[in-house]
Symmetry: C2
Subunit: 322 residues, 2 copies
């Protein structure tokens, strides 16, 4: 691949990976059956085997480097859903996997990664971005970046193809933004097939670097000390990746923000009214529908529920206290 | 219809209703990707718009009596998922709906039914079974029984057709049993198409009237004071219905029981490992896989997650205390 990721890349990813990840449902949100002028459907990526969309990009990347991955192994840095996806795929393909995790990672997440047979390397947070690449250079591991990679973007874009198949009349697709791989892929798929469909990114207002980048036109980083304030731990990345940024500038219509209270309310409503367990990061797109529907077009909105790996005690707190 | 409900009845229900209820996904349960000799897939009826499978049978029944329903209205007795389904369908078709509820029904459930525009008639528990039929006779309402009706059974059977389409290689299908409408329909569909697939019913051991009926061959009722001990409030019916019983005797391979602790554990695991909100009644089939897999055949087991309308405080208690 070179230049922008294209629809062809995304279709190739779909064909390459279709036996691996789950073709998630588009769940109608219809607590009241009387047609509303604005309807919601939920793309439940939380139902993937590892509980998040990350399997898609990671598998596409690994499949394209399989000979090297089989000979030497793969390496990724992540404490969250990307680590889980990479470890899961490595186990299914019998590959060596090394996961670089910051030494602040909760024990439960380390244990889950070890349980999938991956080797875990703990680093200080400032080594996190470099250590995986050092290990790759040293041992010949294939690096599997979380978002700033064309094959990863193409893999995540398969979500967009499925949305168009299942909701051909969709007006608006709302997608969480962190490093930007998911919205880059989805917006490319959607705009290439149906240019009139609006694609909107959502961030916590406490981690709104992509919103700022989008409004100013200049890719901008926020301090981690700021982005780490949000409960949406999957959306604390301090800056959109360079490759996703190019796709976002071309294909995304807007990036909006939601408050912490709106995120918590959305987690609660998704559990009790849609019966889906969403993590806070996975609930921001639905929060935009629940709390900012005035900014959405008439017709059907699809909100991507990007993941469901919520910390049990946080989930209990949200369900107990609203 | 006369005699047993047949595959033809179920296929007709599917064709009649396919625009109304959601074609729920079969979600792979794969916390570990390495193939197990016994795999689990979850038929997530909890994702129906009203949070339970009950829409299927109720819509089939109402559709078959539409002229009378339009002229006079419909009546049902239920405090739970059947009430919600009937009220939801009535609102979508602009029919008058009367729901007879025991005066012990929690306020939240009454309010939810009123919010859907239904009229609620409160009765003492001992009037519950008769009052709906009296109202039907008096006002010409079409009675929509919860399970003891051929059209209801045929509607619930559409779950079985979908399972066979999505998991053609399934070995075992596990289904909660209460009044028996769901397992009657599913077992009829499955055995008519694929007689080698095993169909297993599951009950709480505290409400095991169907298990007793199945083992003795005599349809047997338990005292409500016994069945009401289980937290699985959707499975407290004291006796399998007469029509479901005929189908069960012909098509079901076994009925097994699970403990209260196993049900709670299953609700917790479905939330945290499959990211599905299940009510206790909806979790009993998965509990059979989690805790009694030795009694299941090799290959793929499909567990029907029949509903997800869990009381929020009970859900919090289960998530907090395991």
């Amino acid at each position: 691949m070179s230049g922008l990721v294209t629809l062809t890349d995304i279709e190739a990813a779909r064909d390459r990976c279709k036996e691996v990840f789950f073709r998630t449902p588009l769940v109608p949100f219809l607590p009241d059956p009387i047609p509303q002028s604005k309807r919601l459907m939920l793309k439940a990526e939380s139902l993937q085997p590892t509980g998040a969309f990350k399997l898609r990009g990671a598998f596409n990347k690994i499949a394209l480097s399989l000979p090297q991955a089989r000979e030497h192994g793969i390496v990724a840095h992540s404490s969250g859903n990307h680590a889980r996806a990479v470890a899961w795929i490595a186990r299914s393909l019998d590959l060596k996997a090394v996961i670089v995790m910051p030494d602040t990672t909760p024990d439960a997440k380390v244990a889950a990664t070890l349980a999938l047979g991956a080797e875990v390397v703990m680093v200080t947070p400032d080594e996190r971005d470099t250590r995986a690449f050092e290990l790759a250079a040293e041992h010949g591991y294939v690096p599997i970046p979380p978002y700033d990679d064309e094959s990863i973007i193409a893999g995540q874009g398969t979500v967009g193809l499925e949305i168009l198949e299942d909701a051909p009349g969709v007006s608006t697709v709302v997608v969480p933004v962190s490093g930007g791989g998911l919205i880059a892929g989805i917006s490319t798929a959607i705009k290439s097939v149906s240019p009139h469909v609006r694609v909107i990114g959502v961030e916590p207002s406490l981690a709104a670097d992509a919103r700022e980048s989008f409004t100013t036109g200049v890719r901008t980083a926020w301090e981690a000390s700021h982005t780490y304030r949000t409960i949406a731990d999957g959306l604390r990345t301090t800056c959109v990746g360079e490759l996703p940024w190019r796709q976002i500038q071309k294909y995304v219509d807007d990036i909006i923000t939601v408050s912490e209270d709106e995120i918590r309310d959305s987690v609660r409503r998704l559990a009790l009214e849609a019966r889906l367990v969403a993590e806070p990061s996975g609930a921001v797109a639905a929060a935009a529908y629940f709390h900012h529907a005035d900014g959405l077009a008439e017709g059907t909105t699809v909100a991507v529920v990007s993941g469901g790996n919520v910390d049990p005690s946080l989930f209990v707190d949200i369900l107990s206290n609203g």
